[in-house]
Subunit: 231 residues, 2 copies
């Protein structure tokens, strides 16, 4: 049964999904949906995901959206996926679910609010909301502090003290890659910085390959900002 994966590599949950498939030898066809060209609003894509968001998948005739739901499904439906991603042990799995659910209203929400109002809106000439940017930054910093002092407080290198990465490590680190540290958001959180490096190593070489587009775009933004600052 064929697997189509609808993604934009500039979207953090899209990258998580691509890395997961490549790492686990899941055969798939990548269908690029360019958000900047509005391809997520096409009638063809709307048949796959009526919410008009990436990522989404079509596994044969079965369509699915919401990245965590997709990751859980792939981890369960494809036999070659190592257990540490989404353990069959109910208590280990539940602890990973707890991080995945926590993510939505904390790290993800903070990150999206902050990045939209400080980077994306100005880049696309859209109105910005400074209060929303400030609230996003506050929630983002609090979320990073929670990861630093709670989720990473145990012996293992990964979330919940695990010795190997889970779906939660993958999802959260791809979110964090969206950030730039010019505002020193990441630097106070030493456990987070070490964890990012550990996750990158565990996901090599696919981590860098899938993030290449994002890193190029970030470099371009940085050049524009530097040029603006010196003109």
């Amino acid at each position: 049964m064929s697997l189509k994966v609808y993604v934009d590599r500039l979207s953090q949950p899209s990258r998580a999904l691509l890395i997961f498939c490549k790492l686990n030898g899941i055969e798939f066809e990548e269908v690029p949906i360019d958000l900047s060209k509005g391809q997520h609003k096409s009638p063809e894509f709307e048949e796959v995901n009526p919410m008009k968001q990436v990522p989404a998948i079509a596994h044969g005739t079965f369509v699915l959206f919401e990245s965590h739901a997709i990751l859980r499904y792939l981890a369960s439906a494809f036999p070659g996926v190592a257990d540490h991603w989404y353990p069959t042990d109910l208590q280990k799995r539940a602890k990973i679910e707890s991080v995945l659910d926590w993510h939505h209203s904390n790290l993800r929400r903070g990150s999206v609010g902050y990045i939209f109002n400080t980077i994306l809106a100005p880049a696309f000439g859209l109105p910005t909301n400074p209060q929303a940017a400030a609230e996003g930054k506050k929630l983002l910093s609090a979320s990073l502090a929670t990861i630093d002092t709670f989720w990473l407080q145990k012996d293992g290198s990964f979330l919940n003290g695990n010795s190997q990465p889970s779906l939660a490590d993958l999802s959260l680190v791809c979110e964090i890659m969206q950030l730039e540290d010019r505002d020193s958001i990441l630097s106070p959180h030493k456990n987070v910085l070490k964890w990012i490096d550990d996750v990158k190593s565990a996901l090599a070489p696919h981590f860098d390959e899938i993030h290449a587009t994002l890193f190029k775009v970030k470099e371009m933004f940085e050049k524009k900002r530097s040029a603006g600052a010196s003109s």
Copy 2:
């Protein structure tokens, strides 16, 4: 192994958890955590949930928070739970996961922003944010429209066209019960209104029993508002 369930019946995910346990014959001890008295900030409760939020559980020495993670765990760990709540069929389960994940950034986020800024903050003398209230209401209405026209578009009475309720129906309807319809938020959504009735019937008699505290508090608020309007 004993199961302790830490809840405040005025919290929507707490109610979902209590109803789920009662309906499925799961033996548990209810440990009330009165949010209005700040009991969620006590050192004892912080040992159960360092995030200082309800609900949380302790199953023997295993502690867990985030209501969807708890519901998934209970549905999997207790053998008497009927399959329709959290199906073992991977595609049926994935469709329910998709609703549960969607909920966080849509219905839940809209509802919390709206209710906090229009009901809770004024009641507790806290500052309100009219822009956040308006944004919450807009997201809430859009989320209800999505439930009405997408999640409920199929033949069955429940979300995803299912003929019996799942964890998603339980979680979302408990969230909606927090709303009052004085602003006609619910009334345009006829499928949602019918679905609420269907879920209530499927969860009887525990639905009304667990919601009794909320309904009393809502009645008290309504009387206060009426008295204020006529004075």
